[in-house]
Amino acid sequence: MVDSVVMSGEGLVDFAEGLARIASTGGGPKALAAYVAASLDAAVLVEDADWRHVALAGASTRSIPASAREPIGAAQRNGAEAAVRLPTPGEAPEGIAVPIRGGDAPLGWLSVFPNGGAAAPRIGFARLAAAAIAVELSRDAGGGKNRRKSFWDRLLARAYDDPIEARDDATSRGIPLAIGYVAVAVEAEGLEESSAQAKLGELRRICVDSLRSGTGEVVVLERGGGFVFLCPAPLEVDAQNARTAATLIPRHATKAHFGAKVVGGVGRPAEAIAAYRTVDEARESMFIARRLFGGSCVMPYEDLGVYPLLLRGGTTADDLRAFGDRILAPLRAYDEKHQTELVRTLRLYFDVGQNVKTAAAELSVHRHTVFYRLRQIAEITGNDLDSAHDQLTLRTAMAIDALNSHER
């Protein structure tokens, strides 16, 4: 429950910020109506242009008319275009209705019925609330494209707690929701303002062309100066192919004479309900690609080793342990299955300053055996021991492992 806002100038600002916060995190008309009801200590009814209920909130503490259609209709016949006073039964204070407009198009009405003892709602608060609801209704009322876009915005704003609810909503909007997705974030660098719009259109076409596959429609979301693409990945192989296709985008851009640097990142596969996670990872990867690899590349999160961990603030001990396990688990599994000593070899190799001869002596094996094991380690972990970036990842994983070894 939100505390009632003080009906003052400052209160208006607080109220507006509250509306914006809800809208920006994917809250729809229902969430906005609930906020208005709590803030203004009132019952709130939102009806669309055809007088269908869009949202109802706060009506448990007082009775309100089933629809505001009649008094609004009467007031309109008398020439009213803006706010309408709403008579209410009994002792309850009268309410107020304001139109919800998307540009010039009427989208519906917001009716506010204050509870007994509450102050009559000021028209400014109601109009602000109507404007916020108008944004949400415009998304839904703007045809299939907007309805679909609205769904993805909500999904990524974590508006759905229940996967079934998300799937049902997707279905009602004509969206075939895949089981899982891989996000690809892409931006172009150094675009001139005059041609930026056209170039972004070109980039979008190049990316969609690269990412299309037989597993479903690629979702395109505009984000900042670039795009986030959600590639359906029902199976592991689809995620692998999406990642490969994404890393080929800069080459395709070069071949298409795009004329600007393309940078991007790829998140790990995630279930549809958790698509925000792969999107966050894709954007993090893009940031790292730009900072550490100079752009002109699309970097998969899985290839970035320790860097996402370093980028993210507030990393917990659990995060660190999970990272160490993720990097070393394949080696441990191999050691266990084949009775080998790859983890030990790697640790020793680092401990002795990457001196193969010394490592061989410590392990009592020939140095060729150490070389062979290092090649195996590189192949199994996907980390190149000659790469400074990959070394950092492996060293960090080993360090985390050593620090937590007493727990094993």
């Binding site: 692998q240 490969t244 070069t254 590349c297």
Partner: protein
């Protein structure tokens, strides 16, 4: 730059060159060779005096007597020699009956390319993909066994050596025969990269350098002919049967393709990533593998090799290093060489190349990505892992393979209607004969028990 139709380093001769060469080498007879639907080499021998007429495409034969070739009313077929395949059989050089061979395409009596000719089928498949595959070259690694002949000349499965991979057995007749096979192939203009003892006792491998796709198919027919001929002179029998012995490794052929030219320096290319065309081509091969297996592994015996042993591929996977993956991309070739490891030397080389080229090209056309490469042995893949990666099992019998072929329009299309139906009919009949036969294993297992 070599076009896909260029026969590698083979010289292109004109009619006058061929006549002059035949005269200089004192050629008495010319074998005009071709293969039937099953890939068996056939030939018509003509005296050298008829060579000019043959070069004009005026030598005909009765196609009605060749299995799967023609219907009755089309029986007269013309042989159209490919002059670039002119070669003297070295074992006849210096004798009174020097023989040369010319590999021929087959035309109908009115001179039109015959749609049932396997060599023509390959050329058409190559031509169909010319836009997508501008410069593909192909090489082969061919395995075979050398077994002893009985006193009456009947092949046995006995070998005179107990060697294995890369062993040297200097007193072994097999090793000497292999050396002479290589020398003979080189004398006929083939470029041999290497030869060595293979895993099984009596098993050998000869590797050919890259040439054009058509030349690679021609080379396989040549090797089969030459190996059998040379082996016989050593009292041996060269067999290209895929799995002659249950307890030893089967014989396969590894067909490799090099896609495109060396890529231009590209600031966006990652060192560890394959060229996209190569990736798509691999995707095409994996997508069509069950269907092309019917053509690349065309005998009932072929499926006794495709089991989880001796590094035979059994799943539609690719890797950089795994020896038992279906497709391998060795790092040593800059990641541009795609090696298909499932085919066996009982295949019709022209049809096998046609379906492989069509599969490669379809992958490029549809931009089919192949998933990540596999590390480790494919035999250890669990069913769950295979499902997650959409990995399919290669057909386990000729019957299954033919069903996969029926279901794949791309591979069927590469064969063309005539070859597809003729091949399918022949193979279904073969499978039915096999299915009805009572095999020694069944008697061993059941005769006493039941």
């Amino acid at each position: 730059m070599h076009s896909i139709l260029t026969n590698g380093e083979r010289k292109t001769l004109n009619k006058r060159d061929a006549l002059r060469l035949a005269k200089e080498r004192s050629v008495r007879f010319v074998r005009l060779s071709f293969v039937d639907i099953l890939g068996i080499t056939k030939n018509v021998t003509i005296p050298a005096s008829e060579l000019e007429r043959a070069l004009d495409g005026k030598v005909t034969f009765d196609g009605g007597s060749i299995d799967g070739f023609v219907r009755g009313e089309e029986a007269d077929m013309m042989l159209l020699p490919d002059l670039s395949t002119f070669a003297v059989y070295p074992w006849t050089a210096g004798t009174d009956a020097v023989e040369a061979r010319l590999i021929c395409d087959i035309a109908t009596s009115d001179g039109e390319p015959f749609e049932g000719c396997p060599r023509t089928t390959l050329q058409r498949a190559i031509e169909d993909q010319r836009e997508l595959l501008t410069s593909v070259r192909s090489g082969l690694e061919i395995e075979f066994y050398l077994f002893a002949l009985d006193d009456d000349g009947t092949p046995t499965t006995r070998t005179s050596d107990a060697g294995s991979y890369f062993d040297v057995s200097e007193c072994d007749r097999g090793e000497a025969a292999r050396t002479e096979i290589v020398m003979t192939l080189e004398a006929m203009g083939l470029s041999v990269a290497s030869a060595h003892h293979e895993h099984g006792a009596g098993q050998h491998e000869i590797d050919l350098n890259e040439v054009g796709v058509l030349a690679a198919a021609d080379a396989l027919t040549t090797i089969r002919t030459v190996a059998k001929h040379v082996a016989a002179r050593y009292g041996l029998h060269a067999t290209f049967m895929p799995k002659p012995l249950e307890t030893l490794a089967g014989s396969g052929i590894h067909v490799y393709f090099t896609m495109g030219q060396e890529p231009a320096p590209d600031e966006t290319a990652r060192d560890d990533q394959l060229d996209e065309v190569t990736l798509w081509a691999i995707g095409g091969l994996l997508a069509h593998a069950p269907a092309f297996t019917a053509v690349c592994n065309p005998t009932v015996n072929s499926y006794k090799r495709l089991v989880a042993a001796w590094d035979a591929p059994i799943y539609t996977v690719w890797s950089y290093r795994s020896a038992n993956s279906l497709v391998r991309v060795p790092a040593s070739n800059g990641g541009r060489r795609i090696e298909v490891r499932s085919a066996d030397p009982s295949c019709n080389p022209y049809l096998a190349m046609a379906v492989l080229v069509a599969s490669l090209a379809d992958g490029v056309r549809t931009r089919t990505l192949p998933g990540d490469p596999l590390t480790g042995s494919t035999y250890e893949l669990s069913e769950l892992d295979r499902n997650k990666r959409r990995i399919r099992t290669l057909p386990k019998s000729l019957r299954q393979a033919l069903e996969a072929l029926d279901a794949d329009p791309v591979v069927r299309g590469a064969l063309g209607d005539h070859v597809y139906h003729a091949f399918r009919d022949a193979k279904i009949a073969e499978y039915e004969r096999y299915r009805r036969a009572v095999h020694p294993w069944e008697r061993d297992a059941y005769l006493r028990v039941y």
